[in-house]
Symmetry: C3
Subunit: 373 residues, 3 copies
């Protein structure tokens, strides 16, 4: 579904780029040719994948794998690297088309520029609501809500909560006593924060996320029954930095005595479970369905693939890449990629191999015996 | 817990079957004998497992494995295949019991007939509420709610939503701007639909499901900090066909630019995660805890076992069966069953085998060397 | 974050222990020496990890691994085993410090005592709210709510619900028709109970948990379309014993015809999925992200590691320990630990080993052939 803005308001390309946050980026516009309107009249009504982008839509090529699509693209303009621009000019020339058809925005990092332009479009399409508290929300008298913050319908805000400037609390959220939510942070509908969770500025929390629920702590209590457990109250909090994203239905436990800590810029996908007293380093990203057991520390700039499962009380260093579906049961102190899952095969073959797996230690011995012969 | 209807209202067997949707089914009644009331008086007050079904309850045998229980069954009547009916008559005869005790409903597909009769009972026990909007719901003035639709307490319906005939929105649901919900679809309590999700007719969405949340997309943004990320806004939607079921606490991401698409008749269990821009073919079913990373296309009529994890940007063909707990990291273009998990053993044995696993490549070389000797 | 009570109210050590439930425990106080206030004046303002505990905080050493920290600890008092107390005295003596610095509470089970003292602190810090129903809650006229129970804002309580003495229903909970909630049970905000769920006394249900949602049951219905499914209504309930904890965003399906049953004292962490008709024995504990497919029975006092995945229609006996990340596809009738996951390695090594895994059955044959030579 391409994005559609009111094109009468859409700026021409130059103005769009000037209104976009291009900090850290360099860019130049190369006007398109006869097949598209001259640059001054190029109207950008939306952004779309290159395959589908029409003459009022902007697109991008970041991966050279897709650059061949440029020759037939119909977009208003395309964000490209200098290398892709060079490829495009040559491809046109080889095809005997002297005139460059597309307008190009040549940029050192077209993917990042594309993200920033997307953010500009998002602000036009879905502008932040004005500061207000929906009359159906239940806000404790002692909560402090900044005048520019927005509280959606049927949200519950308990005592001692502090909600910063321009923060937005979605419909049906529950914000427990004493939580602190930084400026420009956005909680989508139906997020739950238990008491005493703090988060910095510009965080985004998706629906169904639960932050600050009790960690899973029990002491054996044989005085009650054979095998019985008694609950260890969880007094720690959760401290979340700036620019953190937490996915839908993800859960982050509060600490037992100390806090669970999520660093700045950490990106956490959906249905992730982070146990009590974990510490996640700045800018680490983890894909959906990851589980991290309690008291594990993960370094900065790590990437954790989907459904990887990390045991408790471990230490993972900086710049570590865990492959998807990999269980981690030991510390990792060296940067690099780590993997561990059983490769999939056709089922019959798996069955034959699985029999052998059960005898691997014996196989190793038998090989040794053969070598001694 | 057997179902209990007011038996004074329960039809006799013949009438029950006439009131049930038996399209696609053939069935005949074989009256029971002396031990049960004559057919005209057989009252069916409920349905139950054969083991527990009493003289006013209906049951079924679909799997021949359970047919031996028929001889001592006390049910009002039992749905069976012609083959099981034949077995039953012979077993009675061998036991010297000439008179057929149970009433049988002989059917080409007793399991399907059982499901349909169950649906009839469900309608009697839990009739759909009349069209109405609970006064505590927060419904935007521009939302269109069909007069026969039901909106539960404390639901939030945003602008531009369209809710079809006889649809039911449970308590505490959040329906984002512009969502479309087809006729007879049912959202259980506390479902979240982000803006712009559309679903067809007769869908069932279980509690805690989140549909249309942002896909997980970030561009590296080293201008902010080493390893930092910037969010790529997610503009696509989610399009869901007819007759789809989505389980409790499942999450389905909206697309980045194009839509995420769920085909007709797809059945999705609890705690499943479907990434942005996935496309799931008609009638594919997936058991709980499955994860599918972004931009993966799955064919029609696939079965995906519980906790299988499917990587991103893959293509799985039609009629593929992925075993439970299997990670999928490559395309599958041939129908069949595919498996990949490490077989469980007693822990000590696993430890010994795990050591060998780490040396498998070396073992392979050593075998080759021995063969060359 | 250490806990801070109003120290003017905090009892001295002796009184604190007398106010704590110490049933099943034996304990004696050994007064501290010169470096801390004399026992009669020891004020306990909170509890903290030994490393961080200050002179008004209580701490504990349960694991001898941490006993070396005692020598430099600054806590008001420390709970220890007799063995750790003995170690401490000797360590002080060896260090030439004749005077015992810390007050010790010598106990047969310091970890359990610590949990019980924590519960005492929790009651002081977060006392149960008085019996009341928030005016924004939607309570059906036929629901029975004990006068001492607390119903939070925006909760929905349907017809026929029975809520026992001192039970607490958090903000935004949905309690379906006919549910029964025992005395002193606590539902955190935004829990969903479908109709007909029953739970005993002293249960704790964390936010986002969904209990009693439809099990995943469908019959093939080729009359509608190739590969189509029709829903099998789920009529069973969920019965939960006393002292059960259910984690955040966990889902427990209702039974198809019979009930799903969770025994007394069962502890279920976050994001766990329990299929329809499962039966979980008393005092079994399972860590986060576990999945249990339908109709599986698990014994008493089992421990199930995080992300273990247990197939359907299985029987697991008492006192079984399943390791984390282990898939279980067969019955287990003998107590013990069971494991099955592919060990993680550096990625390149994994790749080489994975190639060999696909040829394991062949490797086994080649070894046999070599042995015959």
């Amino acid at each position: 579904m391409p994005i559609l803005l009111d094109t009468t308001k859409a700026p021409v390309l130059q103005r769009l780029l000037e209104e976009t946050d291009t900090s850290g980026l360099t860019w130049t516009i190369e006007p398109g040719g006869a097949q598209v309107p001259p640059l001054a009249e190029t109207r950008v009504a939306g952004i779309a994948n290159l395959e589908r982008a029409g003459p009022q839509e902007l697109s991008f090529v970041s991966n050279p794998r897709y650059q061949a699509q440029l020759v037939d693209a119909r977009a208003a303009a395309v964000l490209v690297t200098p290398e892709v621009a060079q490829y495009y000019r040559q491809a046109l020339s080889e095809a005997g088309r002297s005139q460059q058809a597309l307008a190009l925005v040549v940029c050192n990092s077209p993917y990042l520029l594309f993200a920033r332009i997307g953010q500009w479009f998002e602000q036009q399409l879905y502008p932040a609501p004005p500061g207000s508290i929906h009359p159906s929300a239940v806000v404790a008298p002692g909560a402090r809500v900044d005048g520019s913050a927005h509280i959606g319908p049927l949200a519950v805000i308990e005592e001692g909560v502090d909600i910063g400037p321009r923060a937005r609390i979605g419909a049906g959220c529950f914000i427990g006593a004493g939580c602190r939510i930084g400026a420009d942070s956005v909680l989508h509908p139906r997020v739950t924060l238990y008491r005493g969770v703090s988060m910095g500025a510009r965080c985004v929390i998706l629906s169904g996320a639960v932050i600050g629920d009790d960690g899973f702590g029990f002491a054996p209590d044989p005085s009650r029954a054979k095998g019985a457990w008694t609950k260890i109250p969880q007094f720690g909090g959760v401290r979340i930095g700036d620019d953190v994203e937490v996915g839908a239905n993800t859960t982050i436990d509060r600490g037992a005595l100390d806090d669970t800590v999520i660093g700045n810029g950490v990106k956490i996908d959906n249905q992730i479970m982070i146990g009590h007293n974990c510490r996640i380093g700045d800018h680490t990203a983890m894909a959906a369905c990851v589980g991290i057991a309690g008291s594990t520390t993960i370094g900065e700039r790590c990437s954790i693939g989907g459904a990887a499962m990390i045991g408790g009380h471990l230490t993972i260093g900086d710049d570590v890449f865990i492959s998807a579906a990999t269980p981690v049961h030991s510390n990792i102190d060296k940067p690099g990629q780590y993997t561990g899952f059983f490769p999939m095969t056709e089922h019959g073959q798996w069955e034959r191999n699985a029999v052998a797996v059960r005898h691997l230690a014996t196989m190793a011995k038998r090989i040794k015996a053969l070598e001694k012969k």
